[in-house]
């Protein structure tokens, strides 16, 4: 006889609200229904009632973890319609901020995953390291969460002393190599909870069109930074970690390896930071032409796409549409939990690093 177990919308396994109704037989999950919308704010349509500067501030609040990525994608979409392009130095600063954001997002996820595994010491270690990433973000931008760094045509703040930031990043990298990476790649406690759990097969990953670390952990070598480089990524050397197994362990390994790649990217970008301006000038002089423009960025959770539409000389966008990575990844949780033990489902849903603030908008 089957029965339904509701998880959420409020559950200790996840701070954000969503609901997973699991149809179980004994301790085995046979199927699941997903319900979202508990954080719905109608942000896309609110954006149509604001000017482009206000929209930048609004879209920064789509997500508290990848707030920089949202404004980066938005500004990259608006810039062609405004006839401006960020200067080279601004493009490098955008890469540094984006990779720092990936670092703090991945370490945050590692902490939450550790907590769900019952590995509380690791949770504390991850959050301590994440604080240090936040310190670097605050040193650059002056803020810990909503950085207000991006603007149409560049960035708002320069990195005046790249050497000082580089020292902080190198110290951080040492701590990652000493603690987080070995535990997540070799610890039997971590790996025993993750191996063979929550499998998303390569075929299902393709048909579900999942993105980011979820796709890469199912053997799909997909990364917008490589496939369609933006900002300064084309000038930097990095690898895209791919794992074929499609289980929680593969997602863990992909993110652990991506932490190292992000450190590599930040180090290169700081060393190669070109001189020059960081923006194209006064916002008041910006004029938009009629048209629609799209931009894609590889956020910590995968591809984000913005479609922005303006009418000639209007300061308010006619339309802003954002497709976030969790919106693409979340439906695949249904396939991951089928056949899983009920006790593993909090870890499985957490393994996609879901963001419902992003998903609901």
């Amino acid at each position: 006889m089957s029965y339904k177990i509701p998880m959420g919308p409020y559950h200790p396994g996840l701070e954000e609200p969503y609901k997973l109704d699991m149809i179980c037989e004994g301790e085995t999950v046979k199927d699941a229904e997903l319900h979202i919308g508990f954080n719905f704010r109608n942000i896309e349509h609110l954006a149509e009632t604001r000017n482009f500067i206000q929209v930048n501030a609004l879209m920064e609040r789509v997500c508290g973890i990848c707030s920089f990525i949202h404004t980066l994608t938005l500004c990259q979409a608006m810039e062609p319609l405004a006839g401006v392009e960020a200067p080279p130095r601004a493009k490098y600063i955008r890469v540094i901020m984006a990779e720092l954001e990936r670092l703090h997002s991945h370490v945050l996820w590692a902490g939450i995953a550790a907590k769900l595994m019952g590995f509380k010491t690791m949770f504390m270690t991850c959050f301590e390291i994440r604080e240090k990433v936040m310190d670097i973000l605050a040193a650059i931008s002056g803020n810990r969460v909503n950085y207000s760094m991006n603007r149409v045509g560049g960035v708002n703040r320069d990195i005046e002393d790249p050497g000082a930031i580089l020292k902080m990043v190198e110290q951080l990298e040492k701590e990652m190599v000493r603690t987080v990476i070995p535990i997540f790649t070799r610890s039997s406690t971590a790996l025993s909870r993750c191996t063979g759990v929550g499998v998303l097969t390569h075929e299902k990953a393709i048909s579900s069109a999942v993105v980011g670390p979820i796709a890469r952990a199912s053997g799909i070598p997909q990364d917008i930074r490589k496939a369609a480089p933006y900002a300064a990524y084309a000038e930097l050397d990095f690898d895209v970690p791919v794992q074929p197994a499609g289980d929680v362990k593969a997602r863990l390994l992909v993110r652990a390896l991506e932490i190292m790649e992000s450190c590599k990217l930040i180090r290169q970008a700081l060393q190669q930071l070109p001189p020059g301006e960081i923006d194209t000038g006064d916002d008041r002089k910006i004029r938009f032409t009629t048209g629609t423009s799209t931009s894609r960025v590889e956020a910590p959770r995968g591809e984000v796409i913005y479609s922005v539409s303006f009418k000639e000389n209007q300061r308010n966008p006619a339309r802003v549409h954002v497709r976030t990575p969790t919106f693409a990844n979340m439906p695949a949780v249904r396939w991951m939990v089928q056949g899983a033990r009920l006790a593993d489902t909090p870890l499985i849903q957490a393994s996609i690093d879901p963001c419902y603030s992003c998903t609901d908008r």
Partner: protein
């Protein structure tokens, strides 16, 4: 790896892709959305999203479908005089949530599929144009 130029031929049209504002756009006038979806599956393209636009006055709606082919973003536009278009959810399951979201936001019918339960606003009344609500 599929050549972009081969896609119009597979769709049986003369138009060519045109690079514009971050995507390669193809005029697919006369090509049904289901034919397009089947072709995208056949060439191994990954579905990305649909962007819906409410056009001024009573001109209807526009849907922009996006797929990714080896890192290139493809764009296809469908203008809807009436609020309906064939669903391609059965051909491309990844569209499930975005078709439901557009249905809830603009009351556009994706014909041939169920909608319940609502995606954005569980237990709310369906058929409210959320764009018009935001403008109030």
């Amino acid at each position: 790896m599929t050549d972009l130029a081969s896609i119009p031929q597979k769709l049986g049209i003369d138009a060519q892709f045109e690079a514009r504002s971050g995507a390669q756009w193809l005029n697919v006038a006369g090509v049904g959305i289901r034919t397009l979806a089947e072709t995208m599956n056949a060439v191994g393209a990954r579905f990305v999203t649909i962007t819906a636009y409410q056009l001024p006055k009573d001109e209807g709606f526009r849907l922009e479908y996006h797929w990714d082919l080896n890192g290139t973003l493809l764009g296809f536009t469908y203008d809807l005089a009436e609020r309906k278009i064939d669903s391609i959810f059965d051909i491309c399951p990844a569209l499930d949530w975005i078709e439901r979201e557009i249905h809830e936001q603009y009351i556009i019918e994706f014909e041939g599929r169920p909608y319940e339960p609502l995606l954005l606003r569980a237990d709310a009344t369906p058929g409210v144009n959320l764009r018009e609500e935001a403008a109030k």
